[in-house]
Amino acid sequence: MSLLEIKNLHAGVEGREIIKGLSLTINPGEVHAVMGPNGSGKSTLAAVLAGREGYIITQGSVFYKGADLLDLDPEERAREGLFLAFQYPVEISGVNTTYFLKAALNEVRKHRGQPEVDAIEFLELIKDKIQLLELREDLLKRSVNEGFSGGEKKRAEILQMAVLEPTLAVLDETDSGLDIDALRIVANGVNRLRHPGHSQLVITHYQRLLNYIVPDFVHVLSDGRIVKSGRKELALELESKGYDWLIKGHPGQLQPA
């Protein structure tokens, strides 16, 4: 059974249709990259999968682990193992990072029928992961994302992912705003989580990230549809030829490979 199955999805926000018939299937253990220019619907796809309010699905379906994903609240999706790494992580003043992340982990564990972890067990569990992402331990004592640098915020997202151990991680432009060193650290963290029971959907504008997180499949998104799919080499082809090669050359005729 496929892990995620998006069929003919039409979705939009504020009365405007942005995703216009998108289909995509992800199997367990696969890493898929969705690439596309600005305005192609990349962030809308992430928002719809995470369950952001205000996004209306007008047609099509999304099945996750065989059940209708769109029926679930954002927190239910998270507890079922869906993770979204935010393009712009939110600063939450006054909410301690450790407290937040422990609460999140325990929600997931409760849902899985596992015992909750206490503060000491949590700190034990997070220690290695902090080192993996080369973060300072004192960030855990600070408010969520508050006063973090741009790179720290992105690394903290991956730290959360490492703690929550999702079945499917959606990375929304995780590379944006990162210098090459930070990108390497983030990618290293993401790659360490790769195993047969864990899938990834990597949403990005630039091919650069895919040098570090090597996908099994690459899909090109344009005007709310996937206009071409291929293996990882497709990303390199896009890098040399640009998006125009696909979008202008074959208007509306391309089908998923």
């Binding site: 954002p74 992580p89 939110v90 609460a103």
Partner: protein, 457 residues
């Protein structure tokens, strides 16, 4: 509104209840001269100043957003003697903050209640006593300070307090002495009589290099309708380390007017916290004078009005000496039709170079009908300073709620976390660990009562 102004601008005529009440004080003095002779002129001056000022009106800049007409229209009945029925002796153990050990002075309707109070073992030279009693034993020491730190001549309520105060606390820590346990001043309002007025005067003095923690808590019987008018004079001499916390949770029928007049000396460290939960109308006026070089002070506050409550914090921080730091943090969480008022002025005198002043006021509105008037101000007369200020008013951030939900946290818990975090920013600055924990529990319980959170919207 028009009716209001007429009532407020009334001068103190011969038939005035204020004069009549004062005549009773004067007679009591003649019959039983417990107060030192120098107190009476101070009272008369207060009365004269009050007659001149009258109750403030909305026309006055400092009172633009807080209408005290309801107080002005009350019959004025100062409680000049203790009530006849003393409250039960075990009352103090049931009160909030009861888990704090240390000396405590309890005042019932403005009068010291020795049976409910306890002093414990105080270090040598430390004085914790009712002001009225201390005037008999430490008159000259008190005379050095009393009324000397009240610099706001325009405050009619402070003038009224000078005229009518019956008691209060005198806390004195001599140079170099550390009082580790917090000193609690507990105030209970019980009178249900409309216009019953409690005038309290506290004098808190920390001499050079001493340390003290003082907590003023104001509590009330559920339907007590008292008008509490308190003036606290606080002195932190050079090198002193002082934590002063005011906790106000009076009944929804009560009026609470408080003024803190503080003077801070060289290299002192002062934390002042104001937690406002109760009363129909409350005003905390804070006047801090940073007199000595290189001191640091934090003025920190949280207000949680709901229903029709109005809570006002009005602050003037005066940087007199160079190299001082003052940081003000005030957060409000407002529900129903509640109103919040914040006014903060940082005044930097010409000599106060290298001032580091920061002021923030953040407000979280849980209801469409709740309102906030906020007015942060800087007045800078020096050229080498770092001053910042800012204010925000808003709903709970939906983006933050979404972020928490996407991590598996339910909407209800997400809202609670944000609300608790907002209050927690302020509570976390409380230095005394037991006090901090106790306040955290009280505030948390109060926020949990809030149906807005439970409903999840």
């Amino acid at each position: 509104m028009i009716q209001t102004e007429t009532a407020q601008q009334r001068p103190a005529a011969a038939s005035d209840p204020f004069l009549a009440a004062f005549a009773r004080i004067e007679q009591a003095r003649d019959r039983q001269p417990v107060w030192p002779a120098w107190i009476f002129p101070l009272r008369k001056a207060g009365l004269a100043r009050f007659a001149e000022l009258g109750f403030p009106t909305l026309q006055q800049e400092d009172w633009r957003f807080t209408n005290v007409a309801t107080i002005a229209q009350l019959p004025f009945r100062p409680l000049l003697a203790p009530g006849e029925v003393p409250p039960p002796a075990d009352l103090a153990v049931k009160l909030p903050l009861a888990e704090l050990t240390g000396p405590r002075l309890v005042f019932v309707d403005g009068h010291f209640a020795p049976a409910l109070s306890s002093l414990g073992n105080l270090p040598k030279g430390v004085k914790v006593a009712s002001l009225a009693a201390a005037l008999a034993t430490d008159g000259p020491l008190i005379q050095q300070h009393l009324e000397q730190h009240v610099r706001d001549n325009a405050n009619a309520f402070a003038a009224l307090n000078s005229a009518y105060f019956q008691d209060g606390a005198f806390v004195f820590v001599p140079a170099g002495v550390v009082v580790a346990e917090p000193v609690q001043l507990i105030h209970l309002a019980t009178s249900k009589e409309a216009g019953a007025a409690v005038n309290l005067r506290h004098l808190l003095v920390a001499e050079p290099d001493s340390q003290m923690t003082v907590i003023e808590s104001y509590l009330a019987a559920p339907d007590a309708a008292c008008f509490t008018n308190v003036v606290t004079e606080l002195v932190a001499a050079s090198g002193a380390r002082v934590e002063h916390c005011k906790f106000q949770d009076e009944s929804a029928a009560a009026f609470h007017i408080a003024a803190l007049h503080a003077t801070f000396g060289r290299a002192s460290n002062v934390w002042h916290h104001s937690f406002a939960l109760g009363a129909r109308l409350s005003r905390n006026s804070i006047r801090a004078r940073l007199e000595g070089e290189g001191l640091e002070c934090v003025l920190n506050g949280l207000y949680l009005p709901k229903g029709d409550q109005l809570m006002d914090h009005h602050m003037v921080v005066e940087h007199v000496a160079p190299r001082c730091a003052s940081h003000e943090y005030f957060n409000g969480i407002l529900d129903d039709r509640a109103k919040g008022v914040f006014h903060g002025r940082i005044h930097v005198n010409p000599g106060a170079q290298k001032t580091d002043a920061k002021q923030t006021n953040k407000n979280l509105l849980l209801s469409d009908e709740a309102t906030v008037d906020t007015k942060p101000q800087l007045e800078i007369h020096a050229d080498d300073v770092k001053c910042t200020h800012g204010a925000t008013i808003g709903q709970m951030n939906e983006e933050s709620i979404f972020y928490l939900r996407v991590r598996g946290i339910g909407e209800d818990l997400a809202r609670r976390m944000l609300m608790h975090g907002f209050a927690g920013e302020i509570i976390d600055r409380v230095q005394h660990p037991v006090l901090r924990e106790a306040l955290d529990q009280i505030v948390w319980a109060r926020l949990e009562e809030n149906p807005q959170i439970a409903e999840g919207k």
